[in-house]
């Protein structure tokens, strides 16, 4: 039999056509693959890298801060924190709720926390809780698989072993704020970085801040780590040595315990501060968390304002301390010599107004050194009557008042040296000669900071050479910043004579007397303003000026080493409160430094 064939040529033709179409379409599709794989390769390569590599910052420890004896004042301690990886949760509110339940946080708090990181790349972990307790660490670690978006990390945490000691020199750290990040686009902040917010921690923040390291790890699509790819170790910040002497600092703090005020102890020649007390103090350890705003609020709302650095930010009326400025002005302008004498009957009527001396019976006839020793008001009224306020202002400025001292702690205030120009500008009134009488004894609108007074005292001690105060230790390379005030040393000698008598010859400063240590000093008590004036001020919505107790002095008289300035708010008469405290400090200084020098 023959084979039976059908005519299938039409079908074969159609099939062949279909195959050709298939071939063409597949070729066309290959062109698209070419586009993706060859032409756009770089673009997708980068996307793939970003997809599976995650960079985590390794926080660098801050440099340590020492006192001048190499005692650590600011240390680092390991602390656990937990971060949220935003990439792993996208913007899932359910995931946020889960996490907030696990960590016992409020959901809104957590959301606000995430919002704080809006200026950071999404791969930056959001620190959601720090200073974790060990139980918390164990709990998070145990539920790692369930919460791949959470990440435990150890970070070096600032620790101040002496708590409140020298807090106003050290400052504190707080988390960098979104505003700071926005305003410093060139600086590379780490998310949740703790930065110096006050004093030395702020001033030397760049110096103390180390260089963060980085950990690059491979992750899967759920953000689970599959191992390390690369690691750059962090570099610790540089250490800093303060000029503060912890022993002196702590003892001086004890002397101001329970009082509000300030103490500065500085080396006359170098300007290095040995002690810097603003009382009350605070414990900076309490701020080294990114959270618990209640604690923060309790401190900033404290009526005693523990955060206020009174040494540079407290502006006080100088009281009788200012008499040295008036005296110097009179000497420098040739108005008087040391032998020029005035009679103090206890009060004096000038411009139709009664000006009283603090010593009602009157000092009788006295010359300049005696007037300084007894802090006689009438003597200085007499000078004020003969001097122009602008001349006094010129010499006050020459001594460093009315301007910042330039100390290496930020936030300093300028104080105020009044002049006729100043009054015209601020109040639109002319200066009355009667006001000069008040200024001559440090009353009126004069305002000084304790540090300005200390610097002024150092200038007197150095016989006219001004020195810029500092809280960091000078090394051999850096010389102290000194500046000539242009005052005549022989005139200064006359003032110093009066200051010496004040302490050593039964003057107002005798409370500071220490046997065997030639202390020269001047007290000040910002007199209680009259009742009618206080009422007037209250009517005008102003706060009546506080009565403060001052003492500022140096020792020894020749080749001076140390300057001590004490201010006690509401301390009463300077001779009664501030001078004995200063005496104690002179004593401590002498025991520690002068005896050593003699050995």
């Amino acid at each position: 039999m023959a084979k039976i064939y059908e005519d299938l040529s039409l079908l074969i033709k159609r099939a062949r056509l279909t195959l050709i179409v298939f071939g063409l379409v597949l070729f066309l599709i290959l062109v698209f693959y070419w586009k993706i794989q060859i032409l756009d390769h770089q673009k997708y390569w980068k996307m793939a890298e970003a997809n599976h590599l995650r960079a985590l910052p390794l926080p660098a420890p801050r440099g340590l801060i020492y006192d001048r004896q190499k005692i650590i004042l600011a240390d680092n301690q390991p602390s656990f924190k937990v971060s949220l990886l935003r990439e792993s949760i996208k913007n899932d509110s359910q995931a946020i709720e889960r996490v907030s339940q696990l960590l016992n946080l409020r959901t809104e708090e957590l959301k606000a926390r995430i919002d704080r990181y809006r200026w950071f790349q999404t791969y930056e972990p959001v620190i959601i809780k720090d200073n974790l307790k060990l139980e918390e660490v164990a709990m998070i670690e145990a539920r790692k698989e369930e919460f791949p978006e959470l990440q435990l990390q150890v970070e070096p945490r600032r620790y101040y072993p002496f708590g409140t000691a020298a807090a106003h020199v050290l400052g504190y750290l707080q988390e960098v704020s979104p505003e700071e990040i926005k305003n410093n686009p060139h600086r590379k902040w780490r998310g949740g970085e703790m930065i110096g917010k006050a004093a030395v921690e702020k001033q030397y923040d760049d110096y103390l801040t180390g260089q963060d390291g980085q950990l690059i790890e491979t992750v899967d699509s759920l953000g689970r780590s599959l191992g390390e790819v690369n690691r750059t170790e962090p570099i610790k910040g540089q250490d800093l040595m303060l000029s503060i002497d912890l022993d002196l600092q702590q003892k001086a703090e004890e002397l101001l315990q329970g009082k509000e005020g300030a103490i500065i102890v500085l080396e006359a020649e170098s300007g290095e501060c040995l002690a810097w007390i603003s009382s009350p103090s605070y414990d900076p350890n309490r701020f080294i968390t990114r959270f618990s705003p209640e604690e923060w609020l309790s401190i900033i709302n404290d009526a005693a304002r523990p955060l206020e650095n009174r040494v540079i930010r407290g502006q006080y009326s100088p009281g009788s301390i200012f008499k040295v400025v008036t005296a110097l002005t009179a000497l420098e302008t040739g108005l008087i010599t040391e032998r020029t004498a005035f009679f103090c009957p206890g009060s004096i009527n000038l411009y139709g107004k009664e000006f009283a001396c603090w010593f009602k019976p009157g000092h009788g006839l006295l010359s300049l050194p005696e007037a300084i020793k007894n802090s006689c008001n009438v003597y200085f009224y007499q000078l004020g009557r003969r001097l122009n306020v602008d001349t006094i202002a010129r010499y006050a400025r020459a001594l460093g008042l009315g301007q910042m001292t330039g100390v290496d702690i930020p936030g300093e205030k300028e104080g105020l040296v009044p002049s006729s120009d100043w009054k015209k500008k601020t109040r639109g009134e002319v200066w009355y000669p009667g006001e000069t009488i008040s200024v001559s004894i440090g009353q009126g609108p004069v305002l000084v900071t304790p540090l300005q007074v200390a610097a002024l005292t150092a200038c007197l001690a150095n016989r006219g050479i001004k020195v810029k105060p500092r809280v960091t230790r000078l090394d051999d390379k850096i010389r102290p910043v000194q500046e000539k005030s242009g005052l005549k040393p022989e005139n200064l000698e006359k003032i110093i004579e009066g200051m010496w008598r004040s302490v050593n010859d039964g003057g107002t400063g005798h409370g500071a007397y220490q046997p065997g240590f030639d202390i020269c000093g001047k007290t000040g008590s910002t007199q209680v303003i009259s009742r009618e004036k206080a009422e007037k001020m209250i009517q005008r919505g102003e706060e009546p000026t506080k009565t403060h107790s001052w003492f500022s002095g140096f020792a020894p008289r020749y080749q001076p080493q140390v300057v001590v300035t004490v201010l006690v708010e509401f301390g009463g008469m300077g001779g009664q409160t501030a001078a004995p405290i200063a005496g104690e400090i002179f004593k401590l200084y002498r025991e520690k430094y002068v005896r050593q020098a003699n050995l």
Binding site: K3, Q37, D40, H52
Partner: protein, 365 residues
């Protein structure tokens, strides 16, 4: 009974090409799930052996005999599909699975075979140059019934793979142009009804994603975006076997089945893709050319419809993973992981080889 001569005619080249593609598939399934402890590779290997044996058994039976059983087979499959809809176990949100111990089977896969056989049977005696309305209606209904049953599971992807079979029938039987208009109207009608009532939200989203894939890279466009990144980052020569980060690190979803080609593209680069395309094209060429040696009309239909089915699935998948087609869950025959589809595709190719080896229609004296 059996003429031993026909076994000399077995197209070993096509079989070897098919096994080669399946082995490449298994190798890259291994790469895709490198970081996961899983039995995928072992399971797929077992399926490969089972499928090969089934293919050889199928070759023993003359395709003409198979054609004579086409109608009962087709009816049986539709009954099973309908039964699944009512009694089926829900796996991955669809009721498409029959479970035998550790192995699951999708009857919808085997349905393709039944549809091909019934259409071939229907047209084996049809000698017109152009398609009659009756033929048009009948063939559309033969595909339409299982299409609906599978789409209702709901497994739109598998259902859509039936469309190339119908398309193949239209081409081969010579669909008159006037019917094209009818098809267009019906498609539009179904499209409209389907979009508003039939399609699930995720399916709509997939179609929208096709139009704007970058709009929501973490949402519906995520798979596509990850697949493109995998391919694109592979470049010309790829990152090396097991080294593809996209697929290894689970960024790429369904990487062992629907997106297996993206894994290959990442590991071996454009050259790897080119290789797969070449092997596949040679394979398809051999399937289509079976038409030329087919002894009768039924054989032509079997060969052509099989080639259409496999070729279109490949084409849709390679378009899908780069965003030229909506992500519908259509795997690449032989290459993607999946036992039922491997077995079914082996049997479909087995049909073609069955036709080819009986090219000489001997009539016994």
């Amino acid at each position: 009974m059996l003429d031993r001569r026909i076994f000399k005619e077995i197209d070993w080249t096509t079989i070897l090409l098919m096994v080669l593609i399946a082995v490449i598939g298994i190798i890259f399934v291994h790469s895709a799930i490198y970081y996961q402890a899983s039995k995928y590779v072992w399971k797929q290997s077992v399926w490969l052996v089972v499928s090969s044996l089934a293919l050889l058994i199928l070759l023993i039976i003359d395709y003409k005999v198979l054609l004579s059983f086409a109608l009962p087979f087709y009816i049986l499959m539709n009954i099973i599909l309908a039964g699944l809809l009512i009694f089926g176990k829900t796996v991955a949100n669809t009721r498409s699975w029959l479970v035998f111990g550790p192995f699951q089977f999708q009857p919808s896969e085997l349905t393709k075979l039944a549809v091909i056989l019934l259409l071939a049977r229907l047209f084996s005696d049809y000698k017109e140059d152009k398609m009659s309305f009756k033929a048009f209606f009948l063939s559309s209904a033969i595909v339409g019934l299982p299409f609906l049953l599978i789409a209702l599971q709901p497994d739109l992807g598998t259902a859509l793979t039936l469309v190339p079979i119908l398309l193949g029938t239209y081409i081969l039987a010579g669909l008159p142009k006037k019917y094209l208009v009818v098809i267009l109207i019906i498609s539009c009608l179904f499209g409209f009804i389907g979009w508003n009532y039939g399609l699930k939200d995720y399916q709509k989203k997939r179609i929208e994603t096709l139009l704007v894939p970058d709009r929501d890279p973490r949402g519906a466009g995520y798979q596509l975006q990850q697949s493109r990144i995998a391919l694109g980052s592979g470049g010309l020569t790829g990152k090396g076997y097991h080294k593809g980060t996209q697929s290894q690190l689970r960024f790429l979803p369904a990487r062992h089945n629907d997106f297996i080609l993206a894994v290959i593209g990442e590991d071996l680069g454009f050259l790897g893709i080119l290789g797969v395309f070449l092997i596949y094209f040679i394979f398809l060429y051999r399937l289509f050319s079976a038409v030329q040696v087919s002894p009768d009309r039924g054989g032509v239909y079997i060969a052509f419809l099989s080639a259409m089915l496999i070729g279109c699935q490949f084409m849709i998948n390679v378009m899908m993973i780069i965003g030229l087609f909506p992500i519908t869950g259509i795997p690449i025959p032989f290459l993607s992981y999946g036992g039922s589809s491997l077995l079914t595709n082996f049997l479909i190719v087995g049909l073609v080889i069955n036709v080819k080896m009986r090219r000489f229609a001997y009539v016994r004296l």
